[in-house]
Assembly symmetry: C2
Homo-oligomer: 500 residues x 2
């Protein structure tokens, strides 16, 4: 999942459900009826296309099926009506770049990913590469498999919209520029290279914005629209006896601790300086460039606090209390506005069952640092280094593991977002605006220089368990609050018309 | 290896080497010549017996070949002349108890282990269960395999001594009581149960002491005699959101860190209170019962400092400096006299390549705490709990992982140790006395109540790479400072006569 957390988005909106489809919206869109009919007629084809896609694993982290995945992405684009689609090599896995010229006045950008997360098949109730249709109580028929929801399901639904438009004898109402990467799940290291290459950049610069198809419904049917994302740095702090010049340069019997320094304590002591006793970042100068929330953003938070369910959010987060014992409004503001330093993992020494009498020569902490405007990863890395050096921890290795993302912001009044809100309203859903996701993604490739485009996610569908076992895309909804795949396809048709 | 560190023991003794064998000792022991001849005659049989033993893996940690290992141990004892040998079940893996009544006035206890450490065969240059004879430059012909040195080689050499004595038409000069456990490598959890059962306790209580056969030569040929061991506690401190009542109770997206407390920071902050800025234990009251070294022990350290090679010790420890920048004499004293708190491993969250945007709900530290007289594990566990509770970390789980060992001390003037020194002298080696090993072992099963016996390790042989790949026992020495297997067998014959 492009690191957005959708589970907070559980407002009770102004009436939801497919039942509402029949009323104002359907009337307004009566000229699209032939397209809708094609969507229904082609339901099996849509599902079969998604199944075929899920059955092609492409795992960047394990270098499995990447060329095949890129070629499949290329074929999927050409089949859906893109006039050209090419595989662009990068320093890592290839990117697919495709364009569809509909002769329309407006052009819209699309950001896809064709890679998926790793799997442990033993953890799945249905084999992750078989894309079986499974009946799920309380939901309906789902397509289960790795990538079903993140992100092949929504992307396949978008492509199905293009198939339906063409089958109805129409042209898409906007021109399209598609950039599909194969490294989203490993932090998009080569996306900037691909997006900013002359040809792709020229095509993207004509777009009114870039969006990624996504399952934007929460489990209660509500939808939120994210207007930005935090930046982040995924890094690792590593203490070793060798670099420290103290303690052993190899793992040694723990009895030696009586006369040897321990790189592990050195790391613990360094880590301890990074946060306050209550766990807030304490890196020198960390908040120097933090911009306060605007009045508009504060107003969004007031609305979110009124409409979102705190108990449900606590249950989803599996917590009894918010940090600093914050109240609900404050917890939402924290989520949007606080930069953070998180320990993703501590790694080193003996990790097996029981104990082992060893004194490790190396110990490391994987850290995740989230940034808010106007912090930049470069500045924070420098501040972290200086902070450590100032306290006698200058010998620690700081390794950037990827996820070197900038903050992104898309205005609520951009064409991309206004069209989203209007389509959701047609379906009876008053989408909630979320000032900034607590997650991060490489959106700054589009929002930053030189493109400075609006970005967003869109799709009236439901999926779950991204990155986890039993990932699925809802196909036939038996839950009146959730939309199935055909409705999702329809939402893309409507969105393209709204953007036009 | 029963956690002694032998590598420090690199004094330049008063002349070493098999070449000296011909002189004073050989004359004194001329009545043992028929036994020595049997040792040489039975060389191939001795090696074959060790090979067969190594080829039977018994890995307690993986529950592999434990019953087979116990049965083999039983057969080995009976074959060597023990009149009775029985397998005693425990709550874990069985113990073997055997007795040899030679009608002698004195009785000596033997502590064996039939289990070995785990292996990763890929790391071995010779397959770990094949027990091949390999030519090693600078050493000679070695028998390579898991357990070859730790502890099957020395134990097989001891059994070979009994075979030789019998073959020469003699009876052993002392009666023997053997206790062989199968859980040494997992911290001997059931050794006390076995050793203190009525039958075994009654047999052991007649012993003048208990010794374990071992490769007591260092790589330069020198020998030290350990007079005690530190106690230890292997434990784990675990922070979880559930027990803390703060932060998540399951792993969650790291973006949530803006409004959730982190069990990982909670653990880091707790750990940080356990040591001073220079890494010394800072647990409240930790050193309350520490007994200063005696004048005799200080004198031993003076001698060790004069005779041991600091540069070699630093190289072995792979360090440039000792903790607290201690000089050599102080580093030796530290090793003997300092209680320690060591991080064996930090475990939790994401440990794979790169990063993963997760906020772990659980984080743990595996700790090794070494004790000196008169600290006890029970007292220190209570102090650790109180220390943590006092600082707001009372929610951390403290799990004892085993290695709950008491300190042990054996007087230098005990019969067991005096006999060792006299035998080594006969071989031209002035063994160095080491007040206390920095390692720990379940020796308090014998030294503590109710048995209060002297304990020690003995054996004039050389082996290496215990717990590591390419573990070996030296068989045919091509190094004039090191003894081969026949010499080692002979040293056991001599030791039994010296004890008698």
């Amino acid at each position: 999942m492009p690191n957005f957390t959708r589970r907070d988005f559980m407002a009770s909106a102004v009436g939801t459900g497919a039942a509402l489809l029949a009323t104002p919206y359907a009337r307004a869109a009566s000229d699209r009826r032939p397209i809708y009919q094609e969507i229904e007629r082609r339901h099996d084809e849509t599902v079969a296309r998604l199944q075929a896609w899920v059955r092609q694993p492409s795992i960047a982290a394990e270098n499995i099926g990447m060329q095949e995945g890129a070629e499949m992405m290329q074929r999927l684009a050409l089949d859906a009506g893109f006039q050209q689609a090419e595989i662009i090599p990068t320093q890592g896995h290839p990117t697919v770049f495709a364009t569809l010229d509909a002769g329309a006045p407006k052009t819209v950008g699309l950001y896809f990913m064709y890679d998926v997360k790793q799997v442990d098949p033993a953890e799945w109730s249905s084999p992750p590469w078989e894309a079986r249709l499974v009946d799920l109580p309380g939901k309906g028929t789902v397509l289960m498999g790795r990538g079903a929801s993140n992100q092949k399901g929504p992307q396949a639904a978008f492509l199905a919209a293009l198939h339906a438009i063409r089958a109805a004898g129409r042209k898409p109402p906007v021109n399209l520029v598609l950039l599909a990467e194969g490294e989203e799940e490993i932090g998009s290291p080569n996306l900037p290279q691909a997006a900013h290459s002359p040809k792709v950049r020229a095509a993207l610069s004509k777009c009114l914005g870039v969006f990624m198809p996504g399952n934007e419904q929460g489990p209660d049917g509500n939808v939120t629209i994210g207007l930005g994302a935090k930046g982040d740095i995924e890094c690792e702090l590593i203490a070793t006896g060798e670099r420290w010049g103290r303690g052993p340069a190899k793992d040694i019997h723990s009895g030696q601790a009586a006369r040897l320094d321990q790189p592990a304590w050195h790391l613990v002591q360094a880590l301890n300086t990074l946060v306050t006793p209550t766990g807030e970042p304490a890196i020198d100068g960390f908040t120097e460039h933090v911009k306060p929330l605007s009045a508009t953003e504060q107003a969004m938070l007031d609305l979110l606090a009124a409409r979102l369910d705190e108990a449900a959010a606590k249950e989803t987060a599996s917590t009894k209390v918010w940090a600093r014992d914050a109240n609900w409004r404050q917890a939402l503001e924290d989520l949007v506005s606080r930069p953070t330093v998180t320990i993703e993992g501590l790694v080193g020494g003996y990790a097996g069952p029981g104990g082992k009498t060893t004194l490790p020569h190396k110990m490391s902490a994987k850290l995740d640092i989230r940034l808010v405007p106007d912090m930049t990863p470069e500045d924070i890395v420098e501040k972290l280094k200086a902070h450590l050096a100032r306290r006698g921890f200058g010998d620690l290795d700081l390794v950037i593991n990827g996820g070197f993302n900038y903050t992104t912001t898309t205005p609520a009044d951009s064409a991309l977002i206004r069209a989203q809100r209007s389509v959701y309203r047609e379906y009876g859903i008053e989408a909630l605006l979320w000032p900034r996701s607590s997650g991060s993604w490489p959106g700054s490739v589009f929002t930053g220089e030189p493109l400075t485009l609006a970005v967003g996610h869109f799709g009236l569908g439901f999926g779950a368990h991204a990155h986890a076992p039993d990932e699925y895309q809802l196909i036939e909804s038996k839950n009146e609050k959730l939309y199935g795949i055909d409705d999702m396809v329809r939402s893309y048709v409507d969105y393209l018309y709204a953007l036009a």
